[in-house]
Amino acid sequence: MKLTLPPGLSPQNFDAAVKALQGAVGADWVMTTDQDRDAYADIYAPGPETLWGSSGAVAPQSVEEIQAVVKIANQYKLPLWTVARGKNLGYGTAAPRMPGCMVLDLGRMNKIHELDATLGYAVLEPGVGFIDLYEEIQRRKLPLMMSVPGNGWGSVLGNALDHGIGYTPYGLHATKLCGMEVVLGTGDLVRTGLGAMEKNHAWNLFPFGYGPTWDLMFSQSNLGIVTKAGLWIMPEPETSLELVFDIPNAEDIGWVVDTLTPLKLRGVVDQSIFIPSWLGKMVIKGQRKDFWDKPSAIPDWRVAELLKEHKLGYWQVALRLYGDENIVKAQAEVVKAAFKKNLAIPPIENWWRQGDPTHVMDTTLGVPSAIPLQMGDWVGGRSAHMGFSPVVPATGAHVLGQMKRSRKIISDHDVDFYASFTIGGRFCNNVNMLMYDRDKPEQIETMKKLFDALIVDAKASGYGEYRTHLGWMDGVMDTYDFNDHAFRKMNEKVKDALDPNGILSPGKQGIWPTAYAGQRGKALA
């Protein structure tokens, strides 16, 4: 990809900034060839990758180097786009919201500073991947069980900071962050929570600070660069029991959620309960063309055939209980009794006990894997996906309403319906997976129109997205419109105060600094 300069930066000043960065981190860690820019592009881009093209990438290895990079960025007005490992697939990968940003790749910041099995926490740098942390826990034989997302290739902190979700009782990853070290846009280094005190022993254990508690302002945020953070990790349970219920019909999701939410709120079920539709099981069985050889959406009659052929329900609840055996057994009885009211067939039961082997796809037992990304192969070619992800109250009425509306819109666009609901507490994250072949422009156009229609419909019905791709960051922020967008305006005031030159990730989540306010609404999908 050819060089795109950031707004307002001359080629001469760009070259001078690159030289200064080379002096700060070493010439080999400032990457500005066309090939480097390609490598940092959004490989799943819904449209030309150049829409979100970077000017290159810089990869510091220490807090001091990050501070030096930030100083140079301020001096030359070179905007940075911070990524942890840059594997945010479906949301923009490593690519910047504003073209011309230099990607600040923290992949070399990969130290595990603390890993404590007694109190169940780690202190990590952003370059530590789920796989790195998992392997370190295994090597040290620590009785800890991680919570991992669908894509285990990415960064532990990056995922938590972007509000990623997993499937264990610790599945709301952002809520497990505790105590952060952050470089601000001015280059100042701060620690949040009790870490504001030099050498405080409880920094990564107590969830608040003395005074206002700022930690999550650095999540889905461009207000600072998180250089390390505490993360709570679940003590490995004595046992775990998986109860697998196949749920026959699409509309059954209503009673399923009304059955599960009370169990979740009462603490009978601790985990974030992931409920994928049938397509989530089919995508790993082969390619779409093996099951439906037309470009049009798979019709209902064919879906019914496929469910029968492959002995699948429309939904599958693979619920997991974690804990001491006697407690898990008692919880299981409560769960089974609750399901029996609507489903005659008892669940399949899979016990795991400490010391039992886990396999490569045991994501609900904290094993990281990239295999869920295989779903892309469903459409074939250079496949990609995006998720339309509104949050709905965890009641059958809300979930059914959202499903019926989004299903109709998706069907009207002649696209296959592939949804999941994850009950994280009093809410569900509803992810509608949209898959496309990057070499088929007509597919991409359909997905873009569909995505727009879904956002408009959800907003009109009172629901918003929890996370989105670069190309819709402004659009989704626009849907948060209470009191004339007062929330965005507050964020932008804070942004200008902490980062006067606006050099940190301008436009992230639709928050624009004054310095680049003219870029709002540009480079949309």
Partner: protein, 152 residues
């Protein structure tokens, strides 16, 4: 759809490494019972355990001292060890092309050249994303490409 079933059938029977359908396996297998009695007859083979990658020390990544094999395991292992995402997809491609399923593992291939490995790593291919020089440095990639590049 019968062609699809035949192809899938062939693939499913072919290998441990292609045990894609975790849920089927889990549904039919009580772990504790399986440990004592082995997998049930006639079902798909159980999924293999997680494959640990080789550990690489803290040395200078611009002058790596580890072997190409260790570097491959560490930097490519997230997808290209047994039952990894890349292995699963390549196994299906290789089987469809009439090759034995073990050719899904890149270490078993004898038709890769060093230049081809480098090109795919930097340019990506199908589901494989381009790798940055932080993912794998040029010096690390040289060693990995030499290790995998057994072809002529």
């Amino acid at each position: 759809m019968s062609r699809a079933r035949t192809l899938l059938g062939a693939v499913a029977l072919a290998t441990l490494a292609l045990s894609l359908s975790a849920c089927e396996v889990k549904n039919k297998t009580d772990n504790a019972a399986a440990n004592q009695a082995g997998p049930p007859a006639g079902g798909p083979p159980p999924l293999p355990p997680y494959q640990m990658r080789a550990q690489i020390g803290d040395g200078d990544r611009l002058k790596p001292s580890a072997t190409g094999e260790a570097l491959f395991s560490n930097h490519c292992g997230a997808c290209h060890l047994a039952a990894g995402m890349g292995t699963n997809l390549i196994t299906a491609q290789q089987v469809a092309a009439g090759q034995p399923p073990e050719k899904g593992l890149l270490v078993n291939r004898d038709d890769l050249t060093a230049d081809y490995v480098k090109a795919v790593v930097r340019n990506g291919k199908l589901a494989m994303p381009r790798q940055t020089r932080v993912d794998i440095t040029d010096a690390e990639l040289d060693k990995v490409a030499a290790f995998l590049g057994k072809g002529k």
